[in-house]
């Protein structure tokens, strides 16, 4: 069959691809049709036999359609493997069992099976048989298209995909990996050598990547190895080769996928079919397949899961190796995972200054990554394993064994490589076990494959043998006395059969290396008897086994021929085996998981407390109570319960506020911390949502708490006139992204004006708009289109049920939906703005469409139009004293906030910076310095006023009974440069405490010392290391744009 396969392969090379496809499609559909029949009739022995004989030589059927340039040469191949320990499934182990295979299928397996006549029998003498592993996340045989390098330049607004495909180049659902698949015997071997027999292969390009094919790792033709050509439908957060302008951010990817789900739905309802979209056709057709999402990190698993939930889709997630960091949330997602074993290498921390640069979170991940699978198992999460993500694929088994030594059970490990992927791919009828009728994919090993000294001998794929290590290799290990031409040498041969090495021992410290090679039962030895003498020649010997000894003939350095004998003297003990077994027995001790997984994360989440602050100066930020001296405040159940003098409260934790100041938590109207990217690039990006990409692990949250901040608006950036939707969060350090969000907060959206939206920094930009004149038209157009859009829906919704049957509904457009929310006063604008003309303009546009702008943010020339702003009813969120960094802030003055305050504009001070947000109290105090504001009025700009701008003033922003217990205890007057936040409390929970902070700092130092010692000993023990280099979290600012690539 093998030769035959080759013949067919060459013939098929000449066929046109479409023909090949028809052939393989026909054949594979044929095969799939049989599968259910086979299962249903399983109990009927007759049927089983019938099926085995009719259908099992399917790989031969495939060939029948091909021309033959010879006589018929079909051969039946039948093997029996006896006396084996067989795992017929991950949890069924048969001792002394027999496996029969015939024509690529399992014919029978069991402990009391008679070997039929004519079967080639292999006595395995107790060796192990496992079902070959399945890797359900590969691009084996499917070339990965490369993204063209280089950035900047003119934007590409339209898709460049040729044909009747989707308008967005990153939607490639029409792609079928099966059509691109070619056998790659070299790559296949790498997988086979690790025990894999079958892989799922997808095309790595785009957010929607189309379907994958299930192929074996045999060296047959594409037609033979492809078990099924459409197995799963693939997605990712990496736009791949597309250079189209939108989307470029993670939130943009989510928005585009969301819109495409809606578009696909609309496409089916499109009665007149005014156009054809082959991508949507495929998208729809592939919905019934398993849906696989490449998420690559726990954060992205949750993000993808949230997206899937909106459309009733449960993705199987290609996760990262980091799910242990938030295993509860991963479990709650209900997603099955495909998990890589990509443990980071230890840092080379021999140098203490280098070691200092290394991130603590990265160090901890190094230690904890091998525990990931144990955590998943413990939590009952279904997972498969993949080689994907490993820098060296050959580390796979070693890393899996490390996971086992860190608590993963062998049973679950085997399941994750066999039955789970087969189940997830709906292929458990043919793969994942060694039951009758299944594909004969199995490996033969020396013993338990999860032990480090196990050797994989053979990997059988579709009934074809692929040898990895010679099962019958000679074991020559031992000590010999080698007599050559009157000289005696101490020859030592060591290592496992098939991988043996030789050396000559001169004395305790000196060896002569010997090049040894074995083939069949002949052996060749080459060595230099006197290595220091460069002129001395090489002794070359060729020999054969004579009992325990080796006899042979050879040639000396001078060319003289001679006989030789190596006389066996004693068996040599293999030390390396004993060592490795010893190491694998005990579960290593590891440090704590932190929530969030970041330096200064919590070992356990802080809890809400009943707190009584005594005798403080209380800045209530309410106009009727203003500043209360020597006052007590009781916080209970997350709310401000009482304010007064000499308060008592049972069981409350009392905090002495004598000489200290208590204020409401600082609120930052304009922040970009805690988000995975903040800019997309469509001129109207209103469909993207910061709320989709909150990063709860960003240390910026904690650092903001250290400056008294309790709530922020995470705004989209300012790269576009209409930016994305904001997220309003409280700084509940340690909670998962969804739990940071402020419940029932109003929706907000970022708008922007001026230099950034004109793409001033990119001289070759062609994106509309390029002037402030164009910016206005973007708004007018968007709002007018939204009104027209609304009308279309109103018309459609007014139709009777029967009329609707025959009508095409309008397309649901998420950008238009957002614009409508603004028009209907359900979503509010915070607009990045600088100069007076554009401020005035946006107010006029809003008035034209009968709504009001909520906030002008930055607004450095607000002082020039403060009266108009007051009349319009818009608030301001500004920098205290920024100016001169760009042309449009040339006339910015630090008196801006004071003028707007005096003019009656609700004014806040914002940060736009993870640094400045820690000092917003002092930035507000600059209103005292520059505009002579009353201190109480000045502090309003960092507390109640931003609360008003965010419509949160009914729940936070002042100290008033019934409001949220979001307060800060300061060491000094909060407007003073000398004030330090001692405690920052959110919802009655202390999330920052200056003393605890210093305690944590010490603990981190100790834990780092422990980890550094551990890394040094790992290096000394031979582990690979990587240079100790610093890593950074990028601190986003308004105009930062980058293309997210799915990391």
């Amino acid at each position: 069959m093998y030769l035959y396969g080759h013949l067919i392969y060459f013939i098929s090379k000449d066929l046109e691809n479409p023909i090949k496809k028809i052939i393989s499609d026909f054949f594979l559909n044929f095969q799939k049709m049989y599968v259910p029949i086979k299962l249903n009739r399983m109990r009927n022995l007759l049927f089983v036999f019938l099926i085995l004989y009719v259908c099992s030589p399917i790989y031969l059927i495939a060939q029948e359609t091909f021309p033959i340039n010879d006589v018929q040469d079909t051969r039946t191949k039948a093997y029996a493997f006896t006396n084996a320990t067989i795992f017929t499934s991950y949890n069924t182990k048969l001792e002394g069992a027999t496996l029969l295979i015939r024509d690529g299928k399992v014919e029978n397996v069991g402990t009391s099976i008679r070997v039929p006549a004519g079967y080639a029998t292999v006595d395995l003498g107790g060796k192990y048989i496992y079902p070959s592993f399945i890797d359900m996340y590969t691009n084996y045989g499917v070339a990965e298209p490369k993204r063209q390098g280089g950035g900047g330049g003119a934007e590409q607004i339209q898709s460049k995909t040729k044909g009747a495909y989707n308008g967005n180049e990153a939607i490639k659902s029409e792609v079928n990996a099966s059509e691109k698949f070619v056998v790659n015997s070299r790559a296949a071997k790498a997988w086979r050598d690790m025990g894999f027999g079958t892989v799922l292969s997808y095309h790595k390009d785009g957010l929607a990547r189309g379907t994958s094919a299930l192929v074996t790792l045999g060296n047959g033709t594409e037609n033979e190895v492809m078990l099924h050509h459409k197995v799963a439908n693939h997605f990712s957060f990496n736009k791949g080769t597309s250079r189209q302008n939108y989307p470029s951010s993670l939130m943009g990817y989510i928005a585009l996928l969301r819109q495409t789900y809606l578009d696909a739905d609309w496409y089916t309802k499109n009665k007149d079919r005014s156009f054809t979209d082959l991508s949507l056709e495929a998208w729809l057709a592939n919905q019934s397949l398993p849906q696989i999402f490449e998420a690559n990190s726990w954060h992205n698993v949750l993000r993808a899961d949230k997206l899937g939930s909106e459309f009733g889709v449960q993705y199987i997630m290609r996760s990262g190796g980091d799910s242990y960091k938030r295993v509860d949330a991963i479990k709650n997602s209900g997603a099955a995972l495909i998990v890589p074993l990509n443990y980071p290498a230890a840092y080379d921390v021999d140098d203490p200054i280098d070691a200092y640069k290394v991130s603590y979170a990265n160090m901890k991940h190094w230690e904890l990554a091998p525990t990931n699978l144990a955590h998943l198992e413990k939590n009952g999460i279904t997972f498969a394993l993949t080689v994907d993500g490993l820098n060296r694929k050959s580390d796979f088994l070693k890393n899996l064994r490390t996971a086992i030594s860190h608590g993963l059970s062998e049973e679950t490990a085997l399941k994750a490589l066999t039955e789970t992927p087969a189940n997830l791919l709906k292929m458990s009828d043919v793969l994942g076990k060694l039951d009758k009728g299944m594909v004969a994919n199995f490996v033969i090993t020396s013993g338990n494959i999860f032990e480090s000294d196990a050797t994989i001998y053979e990997n059988w794929i579709q009934g074809q043998k692929y040898q990895i290590n010679d099962m019958d290799a000679m074991d020559l290990s031992g000590k010999y006395i080698l007599a050559v031409n009157g000289e005696n040498y101490d020859l030592e041969i060591s290592g496992k059969p098939g991988r043996q090495k030789a050396k000559i021992v001169l004395n305790d410290t000196t060896d002569i290396s010997v090049k040894m090679s074995l083939s069949d039962d002949m052996l060749t030895l080459n060595f230099k008897p006197n290595p220091k003498d460069k002129k001395s020649g090489m002794v070359s010997l060729t020999g054969w086994l004579a009992g325990e000894n080796i006899n042979g003939r050879g040639q000396l350095g001078n060319g003289q021929w001679t006989d030789f004998v190596a006389t066996f003297s004693e068996k040599k003990e293999d030390k390396s085996d004993r060592m490795s077994r010893k190491g694998g027995d005990s579960k290593p001790e590891v440090g704590d998981i932190l929530y969030p997984f970041s330096a200064y994360g919590n070992k356990t989440l802080p809890e809400q407390e009943k707190i009584l602050v005594k005798n403080a100066t209380v800045w209530t930020m309410e106009d009727d109570t203003k500043i209360l001296e020597n006052t007590d405040v009781l916080l209970e159940n997350g709310k401000i319960a009482r304010i007064g003098k000499n308060l008592r409260a049972r069981d409350a934790r009392v905090i002495d506020g004598t000489g200290k100041h208590l204020t409401p938590g600082i609120i930052d109207e304009h922040s970009h911390v805690a988000a995975a990217g903040i800019n997309d690039r469509a001129a109207n990006s209103s469909m993207v949502r910061i709320g989709d990409v909150i990063n709860s692990e960003h240390q910026g949250i904690y650092r903001a708490l250290s400056g008294g901040v309790t709530a922020i608006q995470i705004l989209h950036g300012s790269a576009n006139p209409i930016g994305g939707q904001s997220a309003l969060i409280k700084l509940r350090w340690g909670q998962t992204p969804e739990k940071l969000k402020i419940e029932n907060a109003d929706g907000y959206i970022k708008f922007a004006l001026g230099e950034n939206v004109k793409r001033t920094s990119n001289p070759s930009s062609i994106r509309f708009p390029q002037t402030r004149m164009g910016v206005e038209q973007v708004f007018v157009d968007a709002f007018q289109s939204a009104r027209d859009y609304e009308k279309k829906w109103q018309t459609y919704n007014a139709l009777s049920a029967s009329e609707k049957e025959n009508a095409t509904p309008p397309r649901k457009d998420l950008a238009m939906e957002t614009m409508l929310e603004i028009l209907n006063k359900e979503r509010f604008i915070s607009c990045h703005s600088y100069v007076q003309s554009e401020i005035n303009m946006l107010m006029k546009v809003a008035e034209q469409f009968d709504f009001r702008v909520n906030t002008f943010t930055h607004i450095l020339e607000g002082y020039k139009v403060a009266d108009k702003m007051r009349e319009h009813g818009v608030g301001a969120s500004t920098f205290s004293d920024w100016w001169s960094y760009k042309w449009e802030v040339r006339y910015a003055i630090p008196y801006n906030s004071a003028i707007m305050m005096r003019e009656g504009v609700v004014t806040a001070i914002n940060s736009d910076s993870g640094e400045l947000m820690r000092r917003l109290n002092q930035e507000a105090a600059k209103g005292v310095k520059y505009g002579d504001l009353d201190p109480f009025e000045a502090l309003k700009m960092a507390t109640i006023n931003p609360a008003k701008l965010l419509h949160l003033d009914d729940q936070t922003g002042s100290i008033k009974v019934g409001k949220d217990a979001d307060v800060v205890l300061w060491s000094d007057n909060p407007l003073s440069i000398y004030a330090r936040a001692e405690k920052t409390i959110v919802d009655g929970t202390v999330y920052f405490d200056m003393d605890k902070d210093q305690q944590m700092k010490k603990e981190i130092e100790q834990d780092r010392a422990r980890l550094i010692a551990k890394m040094r000993s790992a290096k000394a023990g031979g582990s690979r290391t990587r240079p100790a280099s610093a890593s950074y979290y990028h601190e986003w600012e308004c105009d930062h744009v980058h293309v997210y690539q799915g990391h």
Partner: protein, 438 residues
Amino acid sequence: MKKINIVFCLLTFFMATGLMAQTRIVPAPAQDKPILLRGATVHVGNGQVFQNGIVAFDKGKITAVGGANTSVPNQSSYEVIDVSGKHIYPGLITLGSSLGLVEVGNVRATRDQVETGEYNPNIRSIIAYNTDSELIPTFRHNGILLAQSTPAGGTIAGTSSVVQLDAWNWEDAAYHVDDAIHMSWPTKEFGPRWWLGETNNRPNPNYGNTVQGIENLFSEAKTYNQIGGKDAVNLKLEAMQGLFDGSKGLFINSSDARSMISAVKMARNSGVKRIVINGGYEALLIKDFLKNEGIPVILNGIHSVPRRDHEDTVLPFKMAKELYDAGIEVLISGGGGYSARNLPFQAGTAVAYGLPYEEAIKAITSGPAKALGIEDRVGTLERGKDAMIIVSKGDLLDMRTSQVEHAFISGRKIQVDARQQWLYKKYSEKYGHDINNK
């Protein structure tokens, strides 16, 4: 209330016409009569403080400083200004400033700070210094009277000069010409390209070559004057000669611990006399080295976030104190851009996190003067020094009270208000806000 305001506003409008007239900046003429400031807390700038003290100056020089009873020769000839309850400080000095070289950061036409090329010791900031930069008055407004106008970029960026911030032209502004050469020691690693999604540093493949280039440059500069019969004048090496006789300092921009050691050793071995580290983020890791070598460190990023996740949450705030405790001379700079006007508050933050108050004052007055090689002329309020003096309504380092009411450059009483203040008045008048009585 509103009506009263309007009437009031009309009144102030007429009164303000006089103010309106002064919408121009005119450099002040030379001091023509002696002045005596009396009744303030005097921060001398060397750690000394006089409560209810006096400062007297004549012909641009300080003539007396001390407590209330300090005798001033010819006291009767002095114009006395009562500054009771206020604070007097030496004029602040900001180091490593782009002042006069960059007007608007993102407009190329207004940038004159970064010359092309790797080694530019011969590039001099003074000749490009724009005395009409609109940033200058905003610095003066907060008490900064001297700035080191500094080139940037490349390995050797060029030569800075110290300018006084009230001048007609650059010759007039030049307070100390060609004070120092600025060198950026290369880093072994480049930062990640965040826009490509990178989070880790990349090694700098040219580190060794760049260091070799610097070493060659310095050794050739050192021997330049000793070689007879030269074929040509080398402007670059000529410009470096001052390093070896102490007339020019070497300011080393570096934040990396090992780079600081390499750079200081190279400079010492080459015979550079005056060495200053600018940046010094990792100085705490090598504090003994810096202390033993006697190298002052300029902190130019007190208001920044920690660079490593494991560091103290407020490390940059605390760094001045910790370096001071380690016996290292700490200087504080407002950094390169427009926001250096916040220099007093950077010092204030250092005080909030443990640096003694008068040490913080030293770090922005006498410390920088010493680093610039002009400590004999300026930096403290001592008799015989140039009268660079500011008077603040309250504590200069706290924005609640920091109001510079008088400023003197070499005894000349300079304007502290400029366009930003005039715009404030202009629009307050437009809206009828009462700001003049405040």
